[in-house]
Each structure stands twice: as structure tokens, then as C-alpha cells.
Symmetry: C2
Subunit: 335 residues, 2 copies
């Protein structure tokens, strides 16, 4: 299997990306096609003694940054490493594309360059998030601010297939992010999406309130991108503030420092368990070929785990299954 | 000053409510008008040796429960203690009304019985929430799922007046809950509301992302009720899961238990600092007279603090100031 990797995506590119690729090639027995500035890649590899064996480089002179508008990927930055990665994917020069760069740009690149699966209304940004035990998928978490009910239905379908095939959860519980338990709760969007999800053959468990999101209420939490992004970031913010306050307590006196030293290992694990950047990333579901967003802050270890998840994303044939499932839905509608 | 209190609102009614009232009468030098089943109130007071001095009881035979539809307050439950409280407020038999009962019903009662301030589009449920230091107001947190931009503008105005007058914050920072910092972020609702808030004479600090909400990004966070309720409950859920996991760590071994005992006092304070039920409650802003929602789980201590906040809500003339401010906005628009 050959995977395409954006060598210039994320805060720690290209060094940590190259390290991750070199390890992944050995551990997962794959080939890698890197996109990005060829000379720089070769220079960094040489400087850090990283072997480029089984790596091919396709030159791309520019980089789309976090500050760039997402749509620049097909405009002023069409020669960036991320755009080149998308084009290499379309050309069939690799089976999936991974980038730790600008999420919005990757969504635009997936939509306009890789294109959508036939019948899919919108590609979605679908991060894996920590819950009480294990992970859930939040879909959509920011690719589509304003949604129609049928989009939410498709998000549920795509999330369910991914969680079943890649995360090995049997009959994933699909929940609708909402502000009450009853089926008439929420705005028109939620009320209508509820009915569509209820009538689907997904394992729909009804509405999931904010309180239930981090507490294992569902394996797939369906939301419009605005709501999903708000959930993602409030989650992150509350966890961050709480962990910081705890740190203040742990360091405020010698007595506390001593007590904290006993708990240190457990507390570090706790911190990891609520840190969504530990989980691995977010597939861009609905794209016609597998595209995976690794965390912008990914180091070699995290990026390697994103490569592993992407490999499983390819092997488990999520894209093909989504395409088949959408086709069968449409056949039913037309019959 | 005489305040009207729903003796049968909340999980701990009427006992904890009566206890709180008896203490508040002495400590705050106020009179109280209780609504609810007269015989039951007298019985509970006698049984627990609670003085009913300076308390008047207006009989109301039924109670609107958490399970009742909010709109039943003007229908099958129009003889409930909450509806009677609203009517007593309208009749001028007290200066404000406090209930720990069904929030939705209190919003409906405020809108249909107490009625709105002239020019106010919607009353809002506006809880005080803990942030990094102190509190912020989340407005709206569930009274109005679908909003127009001018409603969000009014929420900002009302929240700002409340935080300045009752919480004594000079020129409160008003932020718009959104999924990015730039002014073109979000859905049409946010984009338009941003412009209205920017052009207002509020101390508008721009968009507040989910991450900033618990981290002191603003004193007033403006949102449509759907988004606000999601923020409220994700906040609560993440804090709850984290505190529970911490408790697991603290009790998992003798060694940990010992270490935790040193930190116990600080940890209890931390737990309190993220528990929004500790803050006091939520004014129903926009109602023509002061209505205050105490937490459903309020005990005597928390309910007494809600009475104190309500007294300040009356004294600081928030309702009058909102009315004046809306009138001046409208005069400007028409000139």
C-alpha cells in the first residue's frame, strides 16, 4: 500500500512528519509519497539522518498556512503541498492522503479536488474524541456550518460505517446532538433529522444532550458543523481550564507538591484521556477517496498513529461501503 | 421589599425553600409572599419549627413538575404555584418572583403572564456560569432555540446591564459565541448579529470560541438558545466526567487516598468552582418585572443566595434600565 503524506502540514513539519513516515514504513510495511518542497525534505532528512527509503517525493513549492483562507487551496496556493497531495490521490498515485495542515483547506481540497462520493451532499470533518471509556466520533465538527436534515442523516451513516469498520465497534450507537431527550426537541433541523435517523437502519439511540456527549451516550454524535465545532471547543476549553486549575493546586505548597507526586502518573493518564489530540485525528468522510486530517500539533508519535488509522481506513474499505450504502438508500427512495 | 416565592418549585420544595425564606427575612430584612398549597406549607413549617413571620401565603393547589410541558402553565396547570406567583407579580403584590421549578414553564409564564418589556422580542434564560475567575452570563441558554440577529443584540444589551448592575462588573465584555475569531465566521445568524453588536454601544469584544467560554473570554456570552444550551450542558458534562475520574484516582489505592486527603480541601473548592449550581441561578431577562430562576437542586443555602441576587436585581433597577435602553434604541432607529 502506498499512502500520500503532506510533508509540510502542521506545526512540526517537515521533521516530525518525516520521522513518523520512516517509522511507519518499517512498522506497517507501506510505501509513502511525500508532497512538498523537495530540496527542503531532502535537506531535513539528511540533517537528521532519516532514511528516505520507500519514500517518493513529488515537489510542491508552497505551503498553505493556518492563516490562509481555506479556499486559497485552489487559488493562490494551488501549488501547495496539500493541493498536490489531493491531486496525487485523484491520479491514483497513492491510496489515501494524510495532512496535519489547515483543516478548512483540507475540507475544501477534499470537496473540490478529490471530490465527493456520488450521492454524498457534503464532506465532513469528523474527529475522534475521548469519552468516558474509549472514543466517539463527532460528525460534523466544522466543515459545514449550516446543514439540511438529509446531511445530518448522511453524517450518521458515514460515522457509523467508520466506527464499525475502523474502530471495531459493533453496531455503533448513533445519537443526535440536541438540547433535550424527546423527539420534538431542538430546532427544525434537529426535529427533521431525528425522524430521518429514526427511520434509517442505523442503531439510532435518539437525542444526546451536551451532558451525555463526554459520558458515553453514543459512539457517533451527529451535529451540524456549527454545533459540532462548539461542542468540540467547549469540551477542549473546560478540560483545559480544569487541568490548569488542578496543576495550580498541585504546586501551591510543599505539602501539596508532595501529595501530588504520588498521584502524578495517574493524573498524567487522566490528562491524556481527555486530550483529543491524543486520539489520532479526523477522517474527512464523504470524500471519494480516503483523506485523513492529523492534528496540527502532531509530533512523530501522533502522526504515526494517524498513518496507522489511515491504513485501516483504506483496508476496511470505508469509502466503498459508504458509496454502496448511499446508492442503496437512493435506489430505495426511487423505487 | 416584598418578594414572591414559589414554595413548590425544585427538588427540595417546600422544606428547603421555607428554610431559606425564614433566614432571608431576617438577614435581608424583606417580606415574602409564598405561593403553593397553604395547608402543606403550614404543616411543613410547623413540623420543622420554621417561623412564618413576615410570610404571607397565597394558596395554589397544584404544582407544575419537571415532566410537564412548559406550556401547561397557562393550560391544565394554570392553578399551579408558579403560575400564581407570576400573577401575584403582575398584580403588584411583590416586587419580584423566584422559582426553582421547571425552567421552560417559568419562561412561558414570564412571557405570557408577566409579559415582556415593551420592545423586547423574547425573554431569555440567562444563567450565571463559572469561568476561570468569577462568573459570566450565558444568554440565551435555552429559552429560544431559533433566533434572529436582533434578538442576539438584545440579549447582549440585557446581559450587559445585568452584569454591570447586579454583578458589579464595569463595562462588561460582551462576546458572541462563534466558531472562529473573524467577523465573517459562523452561520448567517452570527454574521449578522456580529455587525449589530459591533455597531452598538456595548463593550463588544467580538467572537468567543468554545475554548474561550470557560476561560474568561467575556463577561456576557451571547448565543441563540440552542447553542447556549449546548454550551451549558457540554460544560457541565465535561466537568462532571473529569471530577468523577479524579475521584476514581483519589480512591483507587491506600497510597492515593492518603495523598488525596492532603489535597481534599483544595479539590472541594475546585469542584465548587466549576459547579454552576453554586453560582445562584438565572434571571429571566426581558420580562416586564424581575423573575429569577433558582437551580432545581437548590438547598436552603443556594436558594437563599438566589433570594439575595433577586433582591439586588430589584434594587439595581435592571428591568427599568433595559426598558429605557430599548426605548432609546428604538427612538434612534426611528429618527
Amino acid at each position: 500500500m502506498k499512502l500520500i503524506v503532506d510533508a509540510f502540514g502542521g506545526d512540526n513539519a517537515p521533521l516530525e512528519i518525516l520521522k513518523a513516515c520512516a517509522e511507519a514504513i518499517i512498522d506497517f510495511d507501506i510505501d509513502i509519497l511525500l508532497t512538498g518542497d523537495k530540496k527542503k525534505i531532502e535537506h531535513v532528512a539528511k540533517e537528521h539522518n532519516i532514511s528516505l527509503a520507500r519514500m517518493e517525493i513529488v515537489h510542491a513549492p508552497s505551503v498553505i498556512t493556518m492563516e490562509d483562507e481555506a479556499t486559497e487551496i485552489t487559488k493562490s496556493k494551488s501549488n501547495c503541498s496539500m493541493a498536490e497531495g489531493c491531486r496525487q490521490l485523484v491520479a491514483g498515485n497513492g491510496e489515501a492522503f494524510i495532512s496535519a495542515g489547515n483543516s478548512g483547506a483540507l475540507v475544501v481540497g477534499s470537496t473540490l479536488i478529490v471530490k465527493r462520493i456520488k450521492g454524498i451532499k457534503r464532506v465532513s470533518f469528523a474527529p475522534l474524541m475521548p469519552k468516558n471509556t474509549g472514543n466517539f466520533m463527532l460528525i460534523d465538527a466544522g466543515a459545514n456550518n449550516e446543514c439540511r436534515p438529509e446531511m445530518l442523516h448522511q453524517f450518521g451513516l458515514m460515522g457509523s460505517i467508520y466506527m464499525e469498520r475502523v474502530m471495531h465497534i459493533n453496531r455503533p450507537r448513533v445519537g443526535l446532538a440536541n438540547i433535550g431527550g424527546e423527539e420534538n426537541k431542538g430546532c427544525q433541523l434537529q426535529i427533521q433529522a431525528y425522524q430521518m435517523l429514526k427511520e434509517s437502519n442505523l442503531n439510532f439511540v435518539g437525542n444526546v444532550e451536551g451532558r451525555g456527549v463526554p459520558d458515553d451516550a453514543a459512539d457517533v454524535v451527529v451535529a451540524d458543523g456549527f454545533t459540532g465545532n462548539m461542542i468540540l471547543k467547549v469540551y477542549e476549553g473546560v478540560a483545559m481550564v480544569l487541568m490548569r486549575k488542578m496543576k495550580e493546586i498541585f504546586t501551591k505548597s510543599t505539602k501539596n507538591k508532595l501529595a501530588a507526586s504520588v498521584l502524578l502518573k495517574d493524573m498524567k493518564e487522566l490528562k491524556k484521556s481527555v486530550d483529543y489530540t491524543e486520539v489520532g485525528g479526523a477522517p474527512i468522510l464523504g470524500a471519494a477517496k480516503p483523506v485523513f486530517k492529523a492534528h496540527g500539533s502532531a509530533d512523530a508519535k501522533t502522526f504515526k498513529s494517524a498513518i496507522r488509522l489511515t491504513k485501516e481506513y483504506v483496508e476496511s474499505q470505508v469509502v466503498e461501503l459508504i458509496a454502496k450504502s448511499i446508492l442503496s438508500d437512493q435506489t430505495k427512495e426511487n423505487s
